[in-house]
Each structure stands twice: as structure tokens, then as C-alpha cells.
Symmetry: C2
């Protein structure tokens, strides 16, 4: 089962093609995660972005000029090719749960972080540094993400942390799923303020990928949250884990 | 500072009035968390709820008849009284970050879990058992909460876990904020399926509240996630922490 699924992953190009680079077309070279055409990307600057968000975006775009940093296109399933192959892969990995999927209902489903795109929700953009193995997410939580009155909901911040560490892991290891997320909320994030989510690949041990992450204010003086990737006391626990058939019984 | 803020909390009734029971009116008896009028609650059954969700809701409503369980009204800031007092309290607790709040922008802001109420998003309802100190959330993640194709986004599940353990903590200790959230994602949750988030108060040590939580399928056979409340290796870390001025430097 493990071998057949690994073979299938290679056939689909899932394990080897998450670099975002331009690749020649062909069934064995398909990318399931990134596209290279970024000019239509919804994470590019919007008029609604704050001055802080725009300034920080410009600073990182400047860093991209020498090639050390790369602007990451928005992660969207609408851009994925061969959705049916993707579903088939999931059925191979998670036969018990995947059969519960209602395909009809999902055909038009957006990615969660895109669900509030018509209002102020998950305003964000990500950059990646391949040498440092770092992913930086500039995130401006809109008023629709409110938790305690006037502050960002912990779940909304967890969502963007999950998305950012997920990108870091995928850049390092290919297709992955988050298995453990451990967040220390140091201070509440005021709604509408810009934060920088800084995600760092710590190490890879076999199929386990260890990522650490912190969330800071634009001037870096305020540490809002830390998300650590240390293994839990249980055996065989990984913060971010390569998806495989073994995960069905269970991931962690 | 700590003393003055605690005194203010008592004046506002934040620490002592989160039971949801009918109370006589008066400045010192106000509830900031729950209202007693539940017939307008948006978490009550909707035509869009699945059969599983509706059946489970009816089962728990049946359990409410002998008073062992209580249906919790939806948590909404629109129902909060004395919002200005609430903001003042936050300024006392988090002077550095609270001053960044844009009150004008927030006046109409919904709670995050209510942001997708016009489409299928965070469909949920909560019940509480005071004797067992348990909070159960019935959660049906709609298609707007998609993460990996066909599955619930980890951040969306983290949001509902955060909301559920938060309610457990508030029932036990009054006004709280989540300081640490540690989630093991055992299996991905198929989008559109109903899960039961079961949150249990483990212990209270001073101002620290320890909560554990798991997420299971309706028939309880599939364990999707566990959220533990054990302290992290750092000192003075609490999974869910009573908000106090000391938290500014920092919470954990």
C-alpha cells in the first residue's frame, strides 16, 4: 500500500514538483501546489491594504530583485490541475474518511483563507527564501476575523500560522499535512494591525518535517505568538508530516 | 495594577457572571459573555443543517430536559452590553496593544465564527454539562472552510476547538483568553461531515485553567483530533489563562 501510493505520488509529480519553477508540461511533471503565473494572484496588493501592509510588501518585493526571496502565488484549488487525481490520491491515503467526501458540494468550494475575499478577512501575502528555508507571511487580519472584542480570533491566527508552516514544509518536503500545531499566544493581536508570520524549517527526520514560527509586529518589537514544532510526549509525533497511507492509522 | 484591574472586573461582573442564568439587572451584575434569551440564537437549527447534525442536536436537546445539559446561546458581541467598559478593561490589561485598536472599524465587526453565516461556514451549536464540567460542540464545517481539497482546513478546526475550550474555561473561571493551543491532527476531517468537539475541564491551578479536548465523528469511532492542555516546557505557561494585567509582560 505504502509502495503503491508512493509510486502514485511520483507519477502525479506531487513529491517532486512544489518548487514553483516553470516546468515543461506532461503527465509526470504536473504541479499540484504552485503555479508560475502570479500576475493574477489575489494576494497582490489591494486598495484596502493598510499603509503598513503595502510598505512591507514593497520591502519584500525589493528583496526579490536579487533572487534571494520569491513572492509565492496564492494557494488556490481553482488552479490545481487534475483534481480527480488528487481525490484519488486522498482515497488511497485515507480510505475511511475520504469516502465521506461529497464531490458535488466541493466543486465550487474555495480555500478557507479565500472565503472572505470580498470583505476584509485573511489579507495576506507570502515570500520564500530558499537558502534560509524561511517563509514569511505578511498578514492583516480584517474585521471579519474578530475574536475578543477588538482583537483577532485565535483561530484566525492559527489558520494563517498553519498555512505558513505548511508552505515551509511543502517547500522542503513536497506534499504534506499538518499533524501537530502548538501555539503560544503571548499577546492578543489588535484587529486590523499587520503582523509578520516568520516560519523557519528546523530539521527533517525521515518523513517528519520540523518547523518553528513566530508572529511579530511590523517593527518586530512585539512578539504576539510562537508556534513550536517540538515533538509531543507521544511517540511518532511530527509537527508537520508527509502524507502517506500509514497516516490512516493514524497520522500521529 | 493587578488589584485595580481585578476590582474593575468584579465591578463589571466579568469574573462572577458567566453562568448564563437569569440574573437581576444592575451595574454590578452584568454578564459580558452569555445572554439568557436563546430563542433568537443563530446556532439553532437551520434548514441547511445535515440530517446527522439535526439528529445530534435533538439528542442533546433531549438531554437538556432533566437539566443536566444546557444549550449555550451563540457567542456574539452584538449581544454584549457595555462594550465601552469591555474595551476599557482590555486597555487596562494590554495597554501596549489595545491602543492600536481602531474602534470605528470595529463597531460593526462580527465574531469570526459568525462571518460566514450567510453561506455554509462554521455551522455549530454548543451544550454544557455543569456537573461534568464538559462542553460539547456539534460542528458541521461548510464548503467555505476547505483546506486540502475535500477536507476541513486545520485552521478552521483549530478555530472551533479554541472556541469550545474557551467556553469551558469561561464557565469554570470567568473571563479568559487562550494562552496555549496544542492540537494533534490525527486524521483530516471530510468537508461537510459533522464532528463532535468534546471539551473537558481537567484542573484549575490558581489563575491557570487546564482543558483537554478531542474531536470525533458522530458515531465516535473516528478520532480526528486531540487538543491537550498540558503546560509547555516553558515556565508559567497555561493552556487557557485568566486575562490579567500581568499578561501584558507577556501572557505566557
Amino acid at each position: 500500500m505504502l509502495r503503491s501510493c508512493a509510486a502514485r505520488l511520483h507519477t502525479l509529480g506531487v513529491l517532486c514538483d512544489v518548487s514553483g519553477r516553470v516546468r515543461s508540461s506532461g503527465p509526470a511533471r504536473r504541479s499540484f501546489v504552485f503555479e508560475t503565473v502570479i500576475h493574477k494572484d489575489p494576494s497582490l496588493p489591494k486598495p484596502s491594504w493598510s499603509k503598513d501592509m503595502r510598505l512591507l510588501f514593497d520591502q519584500f518585493m525589493k528583496k526579490c530583485e536579487d533572487g534571494s526571496w520569491t513572492l509565492l502565488p496564492f494557494y488556490s484549488y481553482k488552479r490545481l490541475q487534475n483534481v480527480q487525481d488528487f481525490i484519488t490520491f486522498f482515497h488511497a491515503c485515507f480510505p475511511t474518511t475520504a469516502k465521506l467526501i461529497d464531490k458535488e458540494q466541493l466543486s465550487q468550494a474555495p480555500v478557507f483563507t479565500e472565503s472572505l475575499k470580498d470583505v476584509l478577512g485573511f489579507e495576506h501575502v507570502m515570500f520564500y527564501n530558499d537558502v534560509e528555508k524561511r517563509t514569511v507571511c505578511l498578514f492583516e487580519g480584517g474585521p471579519h476575523l474578530q475574536g475578543m472584542f477588538g482583537f483577532l480570533h485565535g483561530g484566525a491566527l492559527a489558520t494563517m500560522i498553519d498555512a505558513t508552516v505548511g508552505i515551509s514544509a511543502m517547500r522542503a518536503k513536497g506534499f504534506v499535512m499538518t499533524a501537530n500545531l502548538n501555539i503560544n499566544f503571548k499577546r492578543p493581536v489588535p484587529l486590523g494591525s499587520v503582523v509578520v508570520i516568520n516560519s523557519q524549517l528546523d530539521k527533517i527526520e525521515g518523513r517528519k518535517v520540523f518547523i518553528s514560527c513566530d508572529v511579530r509586529s511590523v517593527d518586530e518589537n512585539i512578539l504576539y505568538s510562537e508556534a513550536t514544532g517540538s515533538p509531543s510526549p507521544e511517540e511518532n509525533v511530527a509537527p508537520v508530516l508527509l502524507c502517506s497511507p500509514a497516516a490512516e492509522h493514524p497520522i500521529v
